[in-house]
């Protein structure tokens, strides 16, 4: 079986591996776009994103570190999180199926 291709790298911020569909939100008011089991992709998060984060299976952000809001909340929610990818919101597309590896800080495409 071919190894999935890495499409993005960032900082591993909360461990775990999951597969899901990308939902890019640029503003917390778009939070309803995220359905249970989606992967939330955004520039950075703040508490207004929490309702959407609660539905997400994993979180990927463009900026941040181990101490950013997304990392802290993901570790609390026990869902994978990769921060500091720099360009997740540009490279990933809405509804694209990806694998998020929060332990290695890598994002793979599924086919």
């Amino acid at each position: 079986m071919p190894k999935p291709k890495i499409i993005l790298r960032g900082l591993p911020a909360s461990p775990g591996i999951v597969k899901g569909r990308v939902k890019i939100i640029s503003d917390p008011s778009q939070g309803s776009k995220v359905q249970y089991g989606d992967i939330l992709v955004t520039e950075m998060t703040d508490p207004r994103f929490v309702p959407a984060m609660g539905k997400a299976k994993a979180i990927v952000t463009n900026i941040g570190g181990l101490l950013c809001h997304a990392a802290i909340v993901s570790r609390e929610m026990r869902i994978p999180c990769v921060t500091a990818t720099k360009k997740a919101t540009k490279i990933l597309k809405d509804n694209q199926e990806i694998i998020v590896d929060g332990t290695e800080g890598e994002i793979y495409e599924t086919k």
Binding site: G31, L67, V73, R75, E76
Partner: protein
């Protein structure tokens, strides 16, 4: 002298924000309450870099650093750091909320005066942010600097982690066990309890508790600034509205900018808002019309 002439003469002496209701008395009250504003905006020579790439240029470079005394005190007493941060944040919130209604009042000023007033509001908004928000907040992200309050405890955590596992903690690829330890995972804590001496494990629990407090502080801080519901954040609304009005005013009346710098200002105004604001206040001010800068500096002087 007629009534109108008298009014004009009196008004001419007023600074730009005085014209829309900010008296010297009001400025004095803010200063007495502890408001800090500095001018000009300077890049710090030895600034600390956070891992949040974006914030290195817009915040880290400009943040007024904690003093040696503050650092020493906050390392010893992290709770004091939390209290100082939250107190300053609440103060800053009050301040920028007081700026918001003034934006509308700038409408009654003529073009150049309006630009000077909006520039003054933007400067006060950003400089107060540097002194009362970033001054503490940026330190929450400096886990890689052991001489800072957060970094000091992070270093301790890393040392204890290495003691238990024999592995160093990578900056770019922290291990699964390290991430689980940060999540206070019971299984990992059980393993660490077996691997560390009683004293070291006690120390680990203390360190994790302090790190959790820093994390909680960051969450509280965002809650104060942005709220917990999906309502608009007053912080962003204030900053973005001043910025948007300034950009609109400049687009419709380019005479507020010195001719040779029109394209430079246009370029700055096309940046991401947070980057644009910083660039404009740091390097873009001198591109505005001389009269505007004279009024702007006259206003800012009142706040120093």
């Amino acid at each position: 002298m007629g009534q109108k002439a008298k009014y004009m003469k009196r008004n001419k002496k007023k600074t730009i924000l005085e014209k829309i209701g900010i008296s010297n008395n009001k400025v004095g009250q803010w200063k007495t309450a502890g408001l800090k504003i500095s001018y000009p905006m300077k890049v710090r020579p030895h600034f600390l870099k956070s891992m949040d790439g974006f914030f290195v240029d817009v915040a880290d470079r400009f943040v007024p650093p904690l003093s040696k005394r503050e650092i020493k005190e906050y390392i010893k007493n992290p709770k004091k750091f939390r209290m100082a941060l939250l107190k300053n944040l609440r103060f800053y919130t009050k301040f920028y909320e007081s700026l918001f209604p003034l934006i509308r009042k700038t409408e009654k000023l003529e073009n150049k005066e309006k630009t000077a007033a909006l520039l003054s509001l933007l400067y006060l908004f950003q400089s107060a942010m540097d002194h009362h928000y970033y001054h503490y907040d940026r330190y929450l992200a400096y886990e890689n600097y052991s001489q800072t309050p957060v970094g000091y405890w992070w270093k301790k955590l890393k040392i204890l982690y290495t003691k238990a596992t024999g592995e160093r903690v990578s900056r770019s690829r922290p291990s699964k066990d390290f991430l689980n330890l940060l999540s206070l995972d019971k299984e990992i804590l059980g393993i660490f309890k077996k691997k560390l001496s009683k004293n070291d494990f006690f120390e680990l629990e203390k360190v994790l508790k302090i790190i959790k407090m820093f994390e909680r502080t960051q969450e509280d801080e965002s809650r104060i600034l942005y709220g917990t519901h999906l309502r608009e954040s007053k912080l962003l609304m204030t900053g973005f509205t001043i910025w948007n009005n300034l950009c609109d005013g400049t687009k419709t009346n380019s005479s507020v900018i010195k001719k040779r710098y029109i394209s430079d200002i246009k370029e700055i105004m096309e940046c991401h808002t947070i980057i644009g604001i910083r660039k404009l206040l740091h390097v873009g001010l001198k591109h505005f019309d001389k009269e505007i800068i004279f009024e702007f500096e006259r206003e800012i002087k009142r706040w120093l």
